[in-house]
């Protein structure tokens, strides 16, 4: 561990430990190396490599198109191709679900590092979220191909797209950081968490349009921060009315979720080595 040439003071853990932004900044290169390692290892260990980033959402799209679109009749609410509609949502959702799942399990997976070296523990779950971006970029490139195939030209709204990617990373960071710390102390949360992510998909307009939610409930619904991200992302890619109110509510909710996650994480992070 490296620290600048000044006094470092080690004291008992306090329960109100603030977020040490300056220290995180000093360790930014280590974050880079963690992300770099995750990506390298992932692509070295798979035969199909980046193709998995497409196969996963495409397979899910095919499945959902048959069961929810055809048999469940959801495709009637969608103008244009239901498959494209679902793929757009799933490309972002897959990124979210993978990022948050990897982040949640990341600390336990790095227990050896935690027991042997000091660095800001927050880097571990955060790195998992960044390393998911490569897969997302691949899935998104495939989305561009689909747009050409389906003759959907991009609208000017596509400029808002980075906001929704950043927003999704914020939600993933919030939930990932929170659950990673919970899983260190209580391993049961691993199973709770898998279930939460599955339910979360259905509480988010990935497979259906927000029109099926009654208008008066929509702002409440957008307290699920992924609602605004998916709805906004879809409007950015496919055009159509822009759900500004949902996006704003979800943006606030995602920042609050991140704050709660960081608050809990910083309160317990110094204990990790003792309980992991």
């Amino acid at each position: 561990m490296h620290s600048p040439s000044r006094t470092l003071r080690i004291e008992p853990a306090q329960s109100w430990q603030g977020l040490n932004v300056a220290e995180l900044w000093r360790y930014r290169e280590l974050l880079y190396f963690f992300v770099w390692r995750d990506i390298k290892v992932r692509y070295k260990q798979t035969v199909l490599g980046a193709l998995w980033a497409i196969i996963q959402p495409v397979a899910a799209t095919a499945l959902f198109t048959v069961f929810f679109g055809r048999l469940g009749g959801l495709s009637k609410q969608v103008n244009g191709s239901y498959a494209l509609f679902v793929y757009v949502g799933l490309s972002l959702w897959t990124f979210y679900a993978n990022a948050v799942t990897m982040a949640a399990n990341s600390l336990v997976g790095s227990s050896h590092l935690i027991a042997k070296v000091y660095f800001p523990r927050l880097l571990i779950p955060i790195a998992s979220i960044f390393s998911g971006l490569v897969d997302f970029a691949v899935a998104f490139a495939f989305l561009l191909v689909l747009m050409i195939v389906y003759h959907v030209p991009p609208s000017p709204q596509i400029l808002t797209l980075p906001f929704f990617v950043l927003g999704t990373m914020t939600v993933a960071a919030g939930a990932g950081v929170l659950f990673s710390a919970l899983i260190v102390s209580y391993r049961d949360f691993r199973y709770v968490f898998t279930f939460v992510v599955q339910l979360w998909l259905f509480a988010t307009p990935v497979l259906y349009t927000i029109d099926i939610i009654p208008a008066k409930w929509r702002l409440l619904y957008a307290l699920n921060p992924m609602v605004g991200m998916i709805a906004g992302f879809r409007a950015a890619v496919l055009g159509g009315p822009f759900p500004l109110d949902l996006v704003l509510v979800s943006a606030v909710a995602s920042v609050l979720l991140l704050a709660a996650g960081l608050r809990y994480f910083t309160a317990v992070e110094r204990r990790f080595a003792d309980v992991i």
Binding site: M1, E11, F33, K116, R187
Partner: protein, 418 residues
């Protein structure tokens, strides 16, 4: 400003037994929450739950001046590793504070974070970053690291294809290129391969000569005497001696010869039987001298002393031999002669062992004594350790170490076939 590199002031560390040993699950946490107020009331009323608390360190204070090389010695369980973990910021102290003045590197092992799928080159960058080097710094030192390890040819091979020797060489080479003002280092990392141990010590000597401050946690009294200009001895989490390496190591040796204080007391036992326990253990060589240093092929005598408040029949003893990764590699038991053991107030048992088929490295014994068919027994974990200094059973002149070649050598006979 003082010229102290490290100020350690009143450091204490409490572990709650049970919490550290076992993962709490959600249900237990909920139960814990529900019963916490009750426990707290009991605690305030003076029925403290201190029975489940274990103080690994208690009010440890000492200063390290810039340029000092301080050796920390003490028996297993004396608190050395806990102190190291607190200094490395891996775990927080329960009380007190530490001030470190200068750029710190701490090494609890070499090769932390190495990934088997990544190449040597990639692991140098990853491990360097984990140890706190900047990317520019790693790039600058890269060639030196590779040639120091002697791995130019294999640098783009995934380390999963490395031999354990190559792996350790690369890992050590990265660590050796750190340039901290304060180095905190665990000697555990230099146990095993004698050649590797010498290189570690050589590198630490360089660090000392360059005027860096080194805090060195060690079992090896010889290297403490050679390297350090000061030594601190811990016993049961407290500073028991602080002075010149010669004085302190001599006291340590005397204490370990002293029957009453043979390493580890009842404080380290979990749920011991109420009326008898192991009180002391000694290892002796073939000529009867008490020692912890053996060569492969030597015979060893284990001397165990147990005491009992009431005489017991059918008393038996067992040992487990652990290698330096704490893995059990062998077992011994007095069971076949259990009916002949009779435990009186003070009883002395001897186990003759050997010739030792062990390779060079550090080993530890766990002991258990019990009365046959009783549910509780006295389990003395990591009771005593010893080193195999030389293993040249093949008469090649090169030692056989437990880093490359396993922990023991099976008796063998080689013939030429038809």
């Amino acid at each position: 400003m003082s010229s102290n590199a490290i100020t350690i002031a009143g450091i204490s560390k409490r572990y709650t037994i049970g919490l550290a040993a076992r993962k709490m699950n959600f249900r237990e946490a909920i139960v814990g929450l529900a019963t916490a107020p009750w426990k707290r009331m009991r605690h305030l009323a003076g029925h403290g739950s201190t029975a489940t608390d274990f103080w690994a360190l208690r009010d440890v204070s000492f200063d390290v001046r810039v340029g000092d090389v301080v050796g920390i010695i003490g028996a297993n369980g004396a608190g050395k590793s806990t102190l190291l973990k607190i200094l490395s910021r891996i775990t927080p102290p329960t009380g007190g504070f530490i001030e470190l003045d200068g750029r710190v590197s701490s090494l609890l092992e070499v090769g932390t974070g190495f990934h088997p799928e990544l190449t040597g080159r990639e692991n140098i960058f990853l491990n360097g970053a984990i140890l706190g080097m900047l990317r520019s710094e790693i790039r600058r030192k890269f060639d030196a690291i590779v040639s120091f390890a002697g791995l130019e040819q294999f640098i783009d091979t995934p380390v999963k294809h490395y031999s354990s020797g190559m792996y350790v060489r690369l890992a050590f080479s990265v660590a050796a290129h750190l340039e901290p003002e304060i180095l905190i280092i665990d000697e555990v990392l230099s146990v095993g391969d004698l050649h590797f141990r010498n290189r570690c010590l050589g590198r630490m000597r360089d660090m000392r000569d360059e005027g860096r401050t080194v805090l060195f946690v060690s079992h090896d009294l010889t290297s403490v005497r050679q390297l350090c200009n000061r030594a601190v001895m811990l016993i049961s989490g407290r500073v028991a001696a602080d002075g010149t390496p010669d004085e302190v190591t001599r006291r340590y040796e005397q204490m370990n010869r002293d029957p009453g204080t043979a390493s580890g007391g009842m404080a380290e036992r979990v749920n011991p039987p109420p009326h008898y326990h192991l009180s002391r253990v000694e290892l002796r060589n073939a000529s009867g001298a008490v020692t912890r240093e053996f060569d492969a092929g030597d015979t060893m005598e284990i001397h165990l002393w147990a005491s009992s408040r009431a005489p017991e029949n059918s008393f038996t003893a067992e040992f487990r031999l652990l290698n330096d990764d704490d893995e059990p590699i062998s077992f011994g038991s007095a069971n076949p002669i259990r009916d002949t053991y009779y435990l009186a107030e003070h009883q002395h048992f001897v186990c003759r062992l050997g010739p030792l088929p062990l390779t060079e490295g550090a080993y530890t014994f766990n002991f258990t004594v019990r009365v046959w068919n009783q549910e509780r027994w006295d389990f003395w974990e990591r009771a005593i350790g010893f080193d195999i200094h030389r293993c040249d059973l093949f008469k090649t002149g090169h030692g056989v170490t437990n880093v490359h070649d396993g922990d023991f050598i099976i008796q063998q006979e080689w013939l030429v076939g038809d």
